[in-house]
Amino acid sequence: MFDIALFMGDTDLILSQRLGEWCGHAPVLEEDLALANTALDLLGQARLWLSLAGELEGRGRSEDDLAFLSDAGEFRNLLLVEQPNGDYAQTMLRQYFFDTWHQLELARLGQAAGRVAEIAAKAATENAYHVRRSRDWVFQMGDGTEESHSRAQAAADRLWPYAGEMFHGDSGPLRAPWIEEVRATFAQATLEVPAATWAHRGGRDGIHTEALGHLLAEMQFLQRAYPGARW
């Protein structure tokens, strides 16, 4: 249970951190608001998961202790979510791959007991809207202009190797419905499902990409520079 809470919390937190980078830089004002909403939802979920993780661990660590005082090797997030934002196609394809998996994963966790099921249920309501949004963007970019189509395809190709990690361990049964979902969306979006079958792994074990170190250095700076301070 601790592992699940930490995995979900770290994944939501890192993705939220990435989305927050778009604030003030989105393609249009309405998108700036929409991305911030998603980032806030994920941050809220992350805080619930990380607080639970701290409780379950029983060493008195708070959500902030876990977020700000852990080194990269202790983070359990999916590699997918630590990938840089890139262009809007990369951001929205990353979001779509994640949201689609997240919907399935939250439904699975909703069958568990106690706090995990409660948090999963709340997150599932928010995620239903996220996946609708990100799927719409895959349609708009895949079946929009030539430029948007090639950017969307490039993003799908680049991120595909990070998708496999979402289906390790108990999440294995989610792979088939996820692929089916993605195939249907991509067909409608006139995009090709990438052929590559190998996948990166390591995030769930604390072995990350180079990107995470930089992200954490930025995120954790104040707590590291002023140890023990209250904010």
Binding site: V28, L29, N37, D136
Partner: protein
């Protein structure tokens, strides 16, 4: 600077609770009706202000012109007896 066509303008109407009428809350830009609905949710219901959202292309709205105000509204204004406040009800009379 690329000369990009502006996303069309939509008017947003929100009903905040059942039984109450939709109220005009503002506008936004979106490429389609679906997108406008999503954007309206993100822009205008961040503090849980909505039960139902309507979006209408601004271009689809026909409004009366201020110069027409008299013919359109004057007749009703003259018939003040239509308003309950016109009649003086004795204070002893309840439920009227």
């Amino acid at each position: 600077m690329s000369a990009v066509r502006d996303w069309p303008l939509w008017e947003v109407f929100i009903r905040s609770q059942h039984g109450v009428a939709h109220k005009h809350v503002g506008s936004l830009h979106a490429a389609s009706a679906e997108a406008a609905l999503c954007a309206a949710r993100d822009v205008y219901t961040r503090r849980h202000e909505g039960v139902s959202i309507w979006v209408v292309p601004s271009a689809a709205i026909t409004a009366s012109s201020p110069g027409e105000r008299e013919p359109l509204f004057e007749p009703a204004n003259n018939k003040v007896y239509r308003h309950p406040g016109f009649f003086q009800v004795p204070p002893e009379v309840k439920n009227l």
